[in-house]
């Protein structure tokens, strides 16, 4: 093929006779096996000393062909696969997929199912942000928050385990509602978790928010303007930290988010510190949402009337939700058979990762680590 190995050609990776100093430009390869690339991301950095001139991401190491698999599975069978994309926010993936298929089938999950979905999804958002915080802080050198966040994330995972038996790739939702009624004591568990977790957010913030080194490492690092965000299609906390007050939960409410009262935390500068604050704020808002959902959890059925063998009418539907990382969209084309004709996943991490180049130019190598961390990418979702 003509473009064989062309990814490196313009970067001059293989120039052994070129001496270090004369080149004035050092090409460093980071990853795919590198502790700070959060999986198997490979970044080729062009450096001038420690300053980044530009970078190129090489992705696809974790490509499993999820979209292709989707075309060969029935609608129900494909549901567990989506959990494997963004595996730290598996519940959100499931929610997006189920709602998209529900749209195709023109059914709606009953209110109780919707409430439970919101509870689990928001808990998942907290868990995802916790994992992000721990690893991001670890990249910047603060090792302790990782253990704190994992300790608290454990409580969420315990709730999942009690609810559906799985902790990470939960497959919690079914098309049309839920498979399982909540277990006895579910509400108490969730309430206990919320009471337990509220002071824990303060604990994280105590360690980091006013920590001088943390502030110096994150303020004015990886800045990205709102215009750039929009042009690049960046969504989620990254967009909000740049000052765009846009959250799909408010803009185009899905599930029953319109029933809940919550704020959208935003930042001004679009730097790493603002993104940190936005995510911390989102955790607090998620706690609020879960509290409201627990208080108003209605009784009733948990499954809508859905045919055993799903054959949606011919048509195509795009539906997206606000996943912890940004807009997670599903575009499903149905040809009237039991299997989707085409499943397209619009992965937030994939699109957000494009912004890495813009955010890193002119920064230092150490900042690349911070920026990769702050983008909160999951390679399972980038590569699918």
């Amino acid at each position: 093929m003509a473009d064989q190995n062309s990814s490196l050609s313009h970067l001059d990776l293989e120039t052994p006779e070129k001496p270090f100093l004369d080149a004035n430009e050092l090409v460093i390869n980071m990853g795919p096996q590198h502790p700070a690339t959060h999986g198997v991301l490979r970044v080729i950095l062009r450096l001038d000393g420690e300053k980044v001139l530009g970078l190129e991401c090489v992705i696809g190491y974790l490509h499993r062909g999820v979209e292709k698999i989707g075309e060969h599975r029935t609608y129900t069978m494909f549901n567990p696969y989506v959990d494997r994309m963004d595996y730290v926010a598996a519940v959100s993936n499931g929610l997006g997929y189920c709602e998209t298929v529900e749209k195709l089938l023109n059914v709606e999950a009953p209110p109780r199912a919707q409430y439970v979905r919101v509870i689990l999804t928001e808990l998942n958002r907290i868990a995802s942000h916790q994992l992000w915080l721990g690893t991001h802080a670890l990249d910047i050198g603060a090792i302790t928050p990782l253990f704190y966040t994992f300790r608290d994330r454990e409580e969420i995972l315990k709730i999942y385990e009690k609810y559906c038996g799985a902790r990470l790739t939960t497959h919690a939702f079914r098309i049309g509602g839920l498979q399982y009624e909540t277990y006895a004591g579910f509400e108490k568990d969730v309430t206990n978790f919320l009471d337990f977790f509220r002071p824990k957010i303060d604990e994280y913030e105590e360690l980091l928010t006013t920590n001088r080194i943390w502030v110096e490492r994150t303020k004015n690092v990886g800045n990205i303007s709102a215009q750039d965000c929009i042009a690049l299609g960046v969504t989620g906390p990254v967009l909000r930290a740049s000052g765009v007050k846009w959250d799909l939960r408010k803009a185009q409410p899905y599930a029953n988010y319109k029933n809940f009262d919550f704020d959208i935390p935003i930042g001004q500068n679009g730097d790493t510190y603002d993104r940190y604050l936005v995510r911390m704020g989102e955790m607090r808002q998620s706690v609020r949402i879960v509290q409201q959902a627990i208080n108003g959890l209605p009784e009733g059925p948990i499954m809508a009337k859905v045919p055993k063998v799903m054959k949606p009418a011919v048509g195509e539907v795009y539906h997206s939700i606000e996943a912890p990382k940004g807009e997670l969209g599903y575009f499903i084309v149905s040809d009237g058979s039991t299997q989707p004709y085409r499943v397209r996943v619009r992965p937030p991490s994939f699109v957000n990762l494009q912004a890495l180049d813009v955010m890193c130019r002119g920064q230092l190598v150490a900042d690349v680590i911070a920026v990769i961390g702050t983008l909160d990418i999951v390679l399972g979702e980038v590569d699918r």
């Binding site: 990249d139 050198g141 603060a142 704190y148 360690l207 490492r217 230092l364 150490a366 680590i369």
Partner: protein, 425 residues
């Protein structure tokens, strides 16, 4: 034969360090003692760091090898010794081989002048502090050699980072040290000293630790040193050279097994060395707390009890934890081991109550206790702080600490002069 015994005995009456007295036998004994003590301290430090850090981070740390993981460092040492020694194919063999030894040599040689007591030092050099700073600066060489000889990008960048860092912070460190040395000259003759023992004796003579001297000047100088020494030893939050998330392991990425453990050994003994400098210069070295306020014989007696009490306290902790061990037959060995360890500690404590022993040992005890405080701070920093970025670190060294050090130096000199002119005309 008798001559030899006499040679050995002759030192016992002397009140000099073996080096200064020219007694080679006792110098050798002291060297052995310091070497063994240091190795034990590094091993203990290894265990303590993992344990303390673990407890800060809501986990348990090593628990399997020995009671509460007490034998973990030994197990680790054996593991490291048995590991394959890998040398990269393209590495510069000789330099790669020599580098860890240079680092270890530099880290251990400084202890020649560390004063654990008025006579408890291998030797008392006239240029003691200069010697310490100089030799410890040689470890940069080892790091640079290691990074370069590995012939790989990450170690090279790690080595460059740490050498740049160490060279920069040495400047601020030196200025802080000079301001403390300046304080030693505040006596009747007006002559200061660079000797480590002399510095502590000056604090004794002035009835004041230098950290409190000319408040807050001494404190600021101490602060500068305390920051610079963390940078100097490449520890968190200045552990850029071994920033795991950026450079995998920094200059020793390519090292493995025994050679790697030498770097590890050197890192910890360098930590102890710089802490010793800080203790000697500002915290009164081997002097017990409040030597001037509570200075009658009763207090002397009370403070002489501390070493024994400390060891008894450790022993009590051991017994308490032995009693808390699960009552399962499989835990019997661990329980017995922990209790045995407690008994050993308790015995040491009891021995330390014997006046003859305690008088000789309490200097060492206070010195070690102060150094231990610094070691705890090292661990604490590591648990709390994120890592500085390289330019920020340089900025801090050159734009904050260096001007501060210069200011403190000038102020100290001025205040000293004024004091001489005004209060003691």
């Amino acid at each position: 034969m008798g001559q030899i015994i006499q040679y050995i005995q002759s030192y016992l009456d002397s009140d000099l360090t073996p080096g200064a007295a020219g007694n080679m036998f006792w110098a050798l004994v002291y060297i052995m003692l310091v070497f063994v003590g240091l190795s034990v301290a590094v091993i203990a430090m290894n265990w303590l760091e993992r344990k303390i850090l673990a407890h800060m981070q809501v986990r348990l740390g090593p628990m399997r090898v020995g009671p509460h993981g007490l034998l973990q460092p030994i197990a680790d040492a054996i593991k490291l010794l048995l590991k394959e020694d890998i040398m990269p194919a393209e590495a510069d063999g000789l330099i790669f081989w020599v580098a860890p030894f240079v680092v270890v040599l530099a880290a251990f040689t400084v202890f020649v002048v560390v004063p654990f007591g008025p006579t408890h030092a291998i030797t008392d050099m006239n240029i003691g502090i200069l010697f310490m700073l100089g030799v410890s600066s040689l470890s940069v060489l080892g790091i640079v050699m290691a990074g370069w000889a590995s012939n790989s990008h990450y170690p090279l960048i790690g080595a460059l980072r740490s050498s740049a860092q160490m060279v920069s912070y040495e400047v601020a460190m030196g200025l802080a040290v000079v301001s403390a040395i300046l304080m030693t000259s505040l006596n009747a003759e007006g002559t200061g000293t660079l000797s480590m023992i002399g510095i502590v004796q000056a604090q004794q003579a002035q009835h004041e630790w230098f950290i409190f001297k000319f408040f807050p000047l001494g404190l600021i100088a101490f602060f500068i040193f305390a920051v610079a020494m963390v940078a100097e030893t490449n520890r968190a939050p200045f552990d850029l050279a071994e920033a795991e998330s950026e450079l995998t392991a920094g200059f020793h990425t390519e090292y493995s097994g025994f050679r790697w453990s030498l770097f590890f050994l050197a890192e910890y003994s360098a930590m102890i060395a710089v802490s010793s400098i800080a203790v000697t210069l500002w915290l009164g070295g081997w002097l017990r707390p409040f030597p001037n306020l509570l200075s009658n014989s009763t207090w002397d007696l009370v403070f002489s009890l501390f070493p024994g009490i400390t060891f008894l306290f450790f022993a009590a902790i051991c017994f308490y934890n032995a009693a808390r061990m699960p009552k399962h037959p499989l835990f019997r060995i661990q329980t017995v081991g922990l209790a045995g360890f407690g008994i050993v500690l308790g015995l040491i404590g009891v021995i330390l109550f014997i006046p003859a022993v305690s008088i000789r040992a309490q200097d060492i005890f206070w010195f070690a206790a102060k150094v231990a405080g610094f070691m705890y701070m090292y661990i604490w920093y590591r648990g709390t702080f994120p890592r500085y970025r390289f330019d920020q670190l340089m900025q801090m060294g050159w734009k904050v600490l260096l001007p501060m050090g210069l200011g403190v130096l000038v102020l100290t000199a001025s205040v000293a002069l004024l004091q001489e002119k005004l209060w003691h005309p």
